[in-house]
Homo-oligomer: 676 residues x 2
């Protein structure tokens, strides 16, 4: 049976039948983007986004399903609305650029239910020239004191057919996938950020900003509509007391692929630095045993092949000192790796080095060389166990001058181990669920107390929280270089090129580039040229970058190694010079506090010529361009991978650099002003 009333509700709920009334609107500072809010005859709220008068996002529903209360969906009316504008510029302590302009028009529309419990919530929209962010802001109220959110009914109805670049959600392997490129209508259930290009050339990235005390948002497709589906939790994906606000739902919009990369929308929607002076952290490069572990030449566990021994670590400290790298990372330094750590992270001790690893001695030795050890905390997903030790562990590092730690959460999705009470039941959580969103903030805040920066692996997705907690300097959360050691398949030439326009839109990634030996385990070829490995240092931003290859391999590739020694890791500005999603990317960055520029390029499997106008250089200055490029006949297969040219010439801003990129190739350029 369907009530007559039901008939009315249904009829009004259907597009063809909607008597929608526009109740509010906001426009971007440049006037190109317009957001409109509608209430239909049934009191259902929807938003749409237009650009240059054309819909980019068609009418998309907003609302919630609660477990402990009636859904917020229908019978809504606009109570009041307020508009404001903001235009400020803030400084990043380090980053892709020093100064970030935060310029938007904001609409706050307050809605209340006509009947039932007269519950209220605000929709806050910030409209920037490069996109839109919106969030639900729910005030404290007697009829909604706690929200047990079963589902957030947020939709993104893409107005036109589009191509999508995406990875699946709710799969076993967290975020470590090769990106799929499919028509929008073939997207399954996707993680964010997801990148779209409509058939009329508009580029979109849908993601979220400031994921705090909330479940990560994934996207479930129905037709051309992407609908929010929250990462599971218990009793529901999200439980919050009012007042609270959701993370910002973001739609970055650009005429071209580069515009997505240059956008600061995600950072702008995060809160300012809450940690104060973070000058104790220095963006830097580091070396370590990581690659030899993935080559199976060394092991995390103690024994004949143990990587984290005193002797071996001294060797890396010397290597770092000789070549000007600030950091040395050794994984497997602590107790707990010898058993089946993957099955039982509860054996880890984050305060006890293995007997063959003289932590204090090595820290002191490093200090004499101006080198800093980088700590390592793999939890094996025994997260509560880690939380009980982390404060002591950070304090220990603090005393030893270890000011950065790489954390890890290696286990299948949905298998994070939470134990609220010692010896209590162990509950499983998801890497991107509400509980983990809070765990990661507990880690970075506690680490900050001890002047430790966090580089988290198998993390929750990046939503720009590095602005608020600058010591959350980098993370992994994507298919990294290690897949080139043992992955089946290894990363394709398209992978890193796609990362630039997808995963990297969320924030920095510790991809561990620079494997100039181009060979994985058992001789597996890495689908890259030498020059491409150098280009990655610019293409994939991170304030902490590894020179990942083995010292003996760098000895065999001195030319290429020179760039890795020279390349900066902190920037005054960054510019996308050329590129298309999944095809190629050429990025220029100006070294922070210096006049040098760096250019990095990565390419898919199709060779191409890219003419680069150097008009970003300072007028009147002459520069020495140190060019590291693919040699003639270079290609991502066989010996052709190693065809590599290092050359130098003089250029000015009037010049154009005719760059040739091999299939699976790339390039790196350092531009240094010539004095006098």
């Amino acid at each position: 049976m369907k009530g007559l009333r039901w008939g009315i509700l249904l009829a009004l709920a259907l597009p063809g039948f909607v008597h929608a009334e526009q109740v509010a609107q906001a426009t971007s500072p440049d006037g190109r983007i317009v957001v409109q809010l509608d209430l239909n005859g049934e009191g259902r709220l929807a938003y749409r986004v237009l650009r240059d008068g054309k819909p980019v996002v068609a009418d998309s529903r907003l609302g919630f399903i609660f477990r402990n209360g009636r859904q917020i969906l229908r019978g809504l009316q606009l109570d009041k609305q307020a508009a404001r504008s903001a235009d400020s510029t803030w400084e990043q302590p380090w980053g892709e650029r020093r100064y970030v302009r935060d310029h938007y028009n904001e609409l706050r529309a307050s809605f209340v239910e006509k009947d039932h419990d007269r519950r209220r919530f605000d929709m806050v929209f910030r409209v920037f020239d490069d996109g839109v962010g919106f969030r639900y802001d729910i005030p404290a109220q007697p009829k909604l004191q706690e929200a047990q959110i079963v589902q957030e009914l947020t939709e993104f109805a893409i107005a036109r057919p589009a191509t999508a670049w995406w990875i699946p959600a709710f799969e076993w392997n967290r975020e470590e996938y090769l990106y799929q490129r499919t028509p929008l209508v073939e997207v399954g259930v996707a993680q964010t950020p997801i990148t779209l290009r409509t058939d009329d050339g508009v580029h979109l990235s849908i993601h979220e900003a400031a994921l705090v005390d909330y479940a990560g948002m994934n996207l479930m497709r129905d037709g051309r509509t992407l609908r929010a589906i929250l990462t599971p939790g218990s009793p529901t994906p999200v439980v919050r007391k009012t007042p609270f606000a959701t993370p910002w739902r973001t739609i970055t919009i650009s005429d071209n692929a580069g515009g997505l990369v240059e956008s600061n929308l995600i950072l702008n929607l995060n809160e300012p630095n809450k940690l104060g002076d973070v000058g104790w952290f220095k963006p830097a490069k580091y070396v370590g045993v990581w690659w030899s572990l993935h080559l199976d030449k060394q092991t995390w566990a103690t024994g004949p092949k143990h990587g984290a021994t005193t002797a071996n670590t001294r060797r890396y400290i010397d290597f770092a000192a000789e070549n000007g790298f600030r950091g040395v990372l050794v994984e497997g330094w602590n107790v707990g790796w010898d058993g089946d750590w993957f099955a039982n992270g509860w054996d880890f001790d984050f305060r006890k080095p293995t007997p063959d690893y003289d932590l204090r001695g090595l820290a002191a030795y490093a200090k004499t060389k101006g080198v800093h050890l980088i700590g390592h905390h793999e939890t094996g997903c025994a997260v509560s166990h880690y939380e009980r030790q982390m404060d002591e562990a950070f304090a220990l590092f603090d005393t030893l001058g270890i000011d950065a730690v790489k954390t890890g959460y290696v286990c299948d999705a949905g298998q994070i181990e939470r134990q609220d009470v010692v010896n209590g039941p162990v509950l499983r959580e998801w890497h991107e669920g509400q509980w983990m969103s809070n765990h990661h903030l507990r880690v970075v805040q506690d680490a900050a107390k001890h002047h430790v920066a966090i580089n988290s692996h198998e993390p929750i997705k990046d939503t720009g929280l590095r602005r608020t907690y600058p010591n959350w300097v980098s993370r992994e959360g994507a298919r990294g270089q290690e897949f080139n050691a043992w992955g089946d398949p290894p990363n394709s030439p398209e992978h890193e090129v796609t990362l630039v326009y997808t995963r990297m839109l969320a924030g920095p990634m510790d991809y561990t580039p620079g494997v100039v030996s181009l060979t994985g385990k058992n001789g597996q070829e890495i689908g890259s040229t030498v020059a491409r490995q150098l280009g990655l240092y610019i293409a994939l931003y991170s304030p902490i970058q590894m020179a990942a290859d083995l010292p003996e391999h760098y000895a065999q590739h001195a030319d290429a190694f020179q760039f890795i020694k020279d390349v900066a890791v902190d920037w005054d500005e960054s510019r996308m010079l050329a590129g298309e999603v999944g095809e190629y990317a050429v990025i220029a960055r100006k070294q922070r506090g210096a006049d040098a520029w760096f250019i990095g390029a990565v390419n898919d499997r199709n060779p191409r010529n890219v003419p680069l106008a150097l008009d970003f250089l300072d007028p009147g200055k002459r520069y020495r361009a140190e060019i590291y490029r693919d040699g003639e006949g270079a290609d991502w297969h066989g010996d052709a991978r190693f065809r590599f040219v290092r050359e130098s010439r003089e250029v000015t801003r009037g010049d154009t650099l005719a760059l040739w990129l091999a299939g699976g190739g790339g390039a790196a350029v350092r531009l240094v002003p010539i004095e006098g």
Copy 2:
């Protein structure tokens, strides 16, 4: 960081790299279907299904993610296996056919974890000639006393490209959608049953059987793989104490569309009748105010237009008696409709008639005419409120000879109201969650005690439980005729034709056919011919069928009405004579306990000729074929909808009926043996 071990795990987890070992196999009685179970080097379990040696379902993962324990996924080994065969025939008290053959080979493979907690579970596969059913059977064990299931990792990796007919899951409107026909790779998140036709012509239906004390299974697509996603619940979709078994996951397989319709696989995987003698229920047709409510001529609420008045109901009782209909249904007979019942089902009283409705008097009056009132229980989703009253409500009906009740659960998905303690918190559940799977069984079992049959609307999906609880005689759970009154859009000519091969594979549906006036509210045209409305009585099986139109309309269509009076509702056998998914369907059914046959046909928007060989008729018998068909020029638009011919001729099994079906048309034929 990714452990080396992790690398191994990953490598082994990837198709290209699997060293899989086949550990068990089962074959269908006719040898065409083979199920194989593999364990790969990582101890991951997968099954595959081959037909005639070709894969239909490629390697598909099995397992669980638990909230209160490590996932069951890797490190599995085969402990033991057992095979058995069964071939029996059982009798339906009523149904599409009287005798059902249950013929299969069963494999029970017992798996145990190599390490961790050495947890155990059995996979039980039953392989029939027309498909496969499998379930997880988890024994009681110390390390798994309760399972809080976050996700069931069951996959269906469709081996070839396919066309899919499906409706979305987790949308607001439960099951009431027009079916989408898309390539498999464009399926979003789908409800079951989902129907697939591979590019080499194999027809598949994926569904489940015996959904008891468990969450309904939906399907999330990734590539060509459909992965289980359970309907939400709290703290997880499913919480069960061991021992328990999951519902059967079913894959019906056929060379043609008709094979899906004729399959008994779902019923065969349900338990036998637990209610004993159910002779008190009689399959029957009924009439009532339902259509006038949807036309807005009458109302559920009391007042000048109230439908459920004593006088109006007497008129329907007389109409039923005059025309040989057993049942009269009046909705809106009880207290609670006058307020905003959609918002508050807690006002309903299922024991109190409205003042203008003499329940006892009408029941007595009906009795004198050999007519039975049909009860109506719309809960408005205040399900706990209904459970507290239902026993008294059924008892009341029992005393009045009311032996069938139409129930209803009108609210958005996820908004079922559960209140475990009187005046306690109201929790929201989903229509197809674990809690509702138990609620519906509480209803049918309590109703059975009082000799009441249940016809549930906005129900949980049908998984064949009518075999175990025969008084669960029918349900809705699809986009029904009411959408032709006010739907925007109304049902398309393809809709009912698609239902035959999708929703109807799950079980009977109370579609409420027979609206021969072909006109909805405000004169909205119904996209159907008159003959099609008659064909629906055969095409869409239900043991309780409504003559849905208004008595005055039947008076204007005496010829068509004759068939509605004559058509049977219970069958000795049913045969699919011709059809393709979403295009057309022609079904023949032999009346239970009589020699008459009935043929029903429904067609999409394309006119077509269908030659029907009558070779199913008894040899040596002559039959009078009463043919109700589309007239010349009939079509589903305008006056052409009413072009209708009733004719009669004599036929034998040697004859072929040359049936012409109009666009949006259909046909109905009654074949009565001629005596002597």
